[in-house]
Structures are given as structure tokens and as C-alpha cells.
Amino acid sequence: MTELLIQTVVQGLLVGGGYALVALSLGLTYNVSGIINFAHGDFLTLAMYLALALQTAWALDPYVSTVITFPLLFVSGVALYWFLLRPVARSQLLMVIQLTLGVTFVLQNGILMVFGGQPVRVPSDWEASLLILGDSLFLRTPQVLAFAGSLLLALLLWIVLDHTETGRRIRAVHQNPRAAALMGIDVPRVRTLTFGVGIGIQAIAGALLIPGTPIEPGQGFRYTVIPLMALVMGGLSDFRGIYLAAILIGVTEALGTVFVSGTSGMIVPYALFVLVLLLRPQGLFRRA
């Protein structure tokens, strides 16, 4: 029993690390632009299919092909913000949400048209590799790498945001865009580039999450909704909170799946989210 519990919690931590990767980049784009991008998860799908295409064409390992996919996603993020989101940023929330839902339809079905709807696996040299801790804890190496990647990303975000001039400017734009402009910060430029980086990070997340997971064009929504829950539970602009909330979702999902039985167990994180939103709308870790 305890062995199962430990294995489950560890598995949940690893899955949560994957969610955290996506949630942190979602947090970055949300905080700099004030826009919740419902197509965020679809960019992850896009990154994964690009990795698949590069694997098929040139036999590039997904880890290696990020060198190509990162710039591609960065550019598409920049284009998304500059051409579609910036013009509507001041209109009603409903409109902005609709627009990003429109982008979701375009991406999901664009991918469907190009790659077809069958779930596919991207073969990777790492796929089957296991790490064995002690005598009973089995960990899939790619998941451990993804978890480590999420920690590294969190660390990197913290260093950049809290300890560099660029980060200071991004925080200024987030806290008071008008004052930031009066300080000589080129606000549209900061927003566009940061949004691009946020989408670009999806390339890295995609590479880290791909080994051993089948991908399909319609998966993106799930990769928007769960990170979005982490974002809200974490308190929107508190990156540590977002990270912890993503981990918490991973762990509760794993516990639910193992101990509550199958699909009903997957409800646990959603129920947790609704509870948190009702009881602690300011976020789990922030003082009211």
C-alpha cells in the first residue's frame, strides 16, 4: 500500500511537472498581455507535430529539434499577439476569449488536415528508458527529464523576471503599462516579444512531453484547461504559486486515478479547482 502510494505520488509529481511547464508559459503570456489565450495548449500540439515532422523528415530527435521548433513557435507567438490579440486587447473579455477560441479551431483543424486525426507516437531513443530508485520505484527517464526541465524553467523565469533589467521591464508592463510607457519602455514591443517567448517555451515543453505519449490534434484543449486551472489556483501572477498548483493538480490526478477508479478519479483535480476558485479566489498561496 505505501509502495503504491509513493509510486503514485511520485508519478503525480512528474506529470505535474509537465503541466507546470505549460502553466508557467501560460502565466508569462497572461501576465504580460492581460489576455488568457485559450489556444495556448494548441501551440503545444503544434510544437509536437512539428517535432514529429522533423523526426520523419530528417530523423531528428525531438530534444534536438527544439533548435528549430523554438524559433518557429516564437515567431508564431509574436504574430498571434501582434496581428490578432493586440487589436482587440481593449475590447470585452468575451470577444478576446472568442478570438482565441477561433485560433484554437484553426490550429486544431489545420493540424488535423495536415497530419490526420489518428493518434501517433513520436519515436524517441529515450522512450523506453527507465530509472529505478531503490527496489520498487520505477520512473520513466523522459518524465524525469520533463520534471527537471520544469524546475529549470521555473528557475530561469525567476532569475530573468526578478534579477534582470528585461525582467524588471516585463514586471513594470504587467503592473502599470501606462507608467511603463512613461519610463521610456516600449510597451507593445515588450508585450509582443514576451508573448513570443511564452509561446516559444511550448516548443521546449513539447519536446520534453513527447516521448512515450501518443499525440493527436484535439489534445490541445486539455493542455489549455489544466494549466489555466493551475494559473488561477496559483494566483495569476505568482509564478511559484502557479508551479505548485500545477504539481498539486498532477498529484491529485494521479491519486484520483489510482485510488478512486478510472475516469471518475480524473474529476478530482477539476473538483479541487472549483473549490479553490470558490473558497480562495485570490489563489491558494497568496494572502487575501
Partner: protein, 234 residues
């Protein structure tokens, strides 16, 4: 130094400013006066580039800046201290100040200027690590001015710096402004407080419903009954 000619501007609706012209010479402290909604803030927002004028031109140091980006205008040396202070609340006082000098032109001189700001407002030095949102209104105003000074302005524009402050803080702020002006800084001061402004400005311009109603030296404006009328909106 600053030449505004025939400026017309508004926010989607009717014109808030109509055909306003105004000059500021180097080293002057000019007061921009007028009642609420006279268009004072609109004018300096046009100068800062955060609002596009509908007509007219703005020149600074002989160059046209009418359509320049706000960031470009700051780099050229016009810095605004906005109404309501607009500090970055969840950042330290130090971070706020450093952000004031974030342009490429200002960054190399940040360390020196930080010392100058701390000399001008020793209070800010004490409060360095504190979140700006936790400061009192007067301290936030000092921070907003200090932050603007970090950009190394040639022309400093202040929008209602005395608004909502206790008389003691108002004195501190205005003493600092006089001191900066005495050191050679050109200042355009938007204020509702007529006497206070005229006591430290050389010249004043009175706006009334978006147009220049009166202009002249502080002494003439003080003596002219129309100045007060413009304030009461008569």
C-alpha cells in the same frame, strides 16, 4: 526648448484641446494652470506621446516629435511624472527608481543619478527595499519624481504633484522642485493650486476649456482677475 504649436487633440469624442500653442525655454519653470477638465493633462500626454494629437506640432530641441513613440520621447529627455503618481506597487522602491533609468541613454549613468535622487529625497534611501505600494502618498510622490529624475530629463513635466498630499509633503515636494530648477532643470508644472504654482513659476499659461485663455509672467497672472475667473469656470 519646447515649442507646441496649434495642438488639437481628443479621446474619440469632441476636441479636448483646440489650437493650443505654448513655448518653454531652457531653464524655465512654467506653470500650466486651469480648472478641472481644462485639458492640462491632455496636453502633457500629447507631449509625452501617449496620446496622438489630431493636429498641430510639437518640437523639442529643434526637432519634430509630434509622432514620436513615448519611449523615444523619454530617450530624448522629456519625462513625465503622471497624475496619481503611478508607481509600480508590487516592486521595491529601488526597482521603481532603476526603472526610471531603463532607457539605453540613461542606463550608463544610473548609479550616479541614484545617489542624486537619494540626496534630494533621503527618505527614499531609507525605504529602498520596501514595496512602493506600501509607501504613504507623499513618499510615493517623492518616488515618482525620483523615478523621473533617473531618466536624466532635460524637461520634467509634473501632473498635479500636490494632489491629495498633506501640506507638509506639498512643501517638501515644491522645495525639491525649486531646487531642481535652480540647478538648471527645465520644468513644466501642471497644477490646480494657483498660488503655490505662481510662487515658484516664472511664467504661467492658463488653459480654459481646451484653449489658452491667458499667458504671462507669474506677477501679471496673479494681478489679473481673469486668472481666477478661468479657475472658477466663469
Amino acid at each position: 526648448m519646447l515649442e507646441v504649436a496649434g495642438l488639437t487633440a481628443g479621446y474619440g469624442g469632441p476636441n479636448v484641446l483646440e489650437d493650443v500653442s505654448l513655448d518653454v525655454e531652457a531653464g524655465e519653470l512654467v506653470g500650466l494652470l486651469g480648472a478641472n477638465n481644462a485639458g492640462k493633462s491632455t496636453l502633457i500626454n500629447c507631449i509625452s506621446g501617449v496620446l496622438r494629437p489630431r493636429a498641430g506640432s510639437i518640437r523639442f530641441l529643434g526637432e519634430d516629435i509630434t509622432r514620436a513613440k513615448p519611449s523615444d520621447i523619454v530617450s530624448r529627455g522629456i519625462v513625465q511624472v503622471p497624475e496619481g503618481r503611478q508607481v509600480f506597487p508590487r516592486m521595491s522602491v529601488l526597482d521603481n527608481l532603476l526603472l526610471g533609468g531603463t532607457t539605453a541613454v540613461a542606463r550608463p549613468r544610473r548609479a550616479d543619478r541614484l545617489e542624486q535622487v537619494f540626496t534630494l529625497f533621503p527618505r527614499l534611501k531609507e525605504r529602498r527595499p520596501q514595496y512602493a505600494g506600501t509607501l504613504s502618498g507623499g513618499e510615493q510622490q517623492m518616488l515618482a519624481i525620483g523615478r523621473a529624475m533617473m531618466g536624466g530629463p532635460k524637461l520634467l513635466m509634473l501632473d498635479e504633484p500636490s494632489l491629495g498630499l498633506s501640506p507638509l509633503f506639498v512643501q517638501t515636494i515644491f522645495r525639491a522642485l525649486r531646487e531642481l530648477n535652480a540647478q538648471g532643470l527645465t520644468i513644466l508644472l501642471v497644477e490646480q493650486n494657483l498660488n503655490l504654482t505662481l510662487s515658484c513659476a516664472v511664467r504661467g499659461v492658463v488653459l480654459e476649456r481646451g484653449q489658452v485663455a491667458l499667458a504671462g509672467t507669474s506677477a501679471t497672472l496673479r494681478a489679473d482677475p481673469r486668472t481666477r475667473q478661468a479657475y472658477l469656470g466663469l
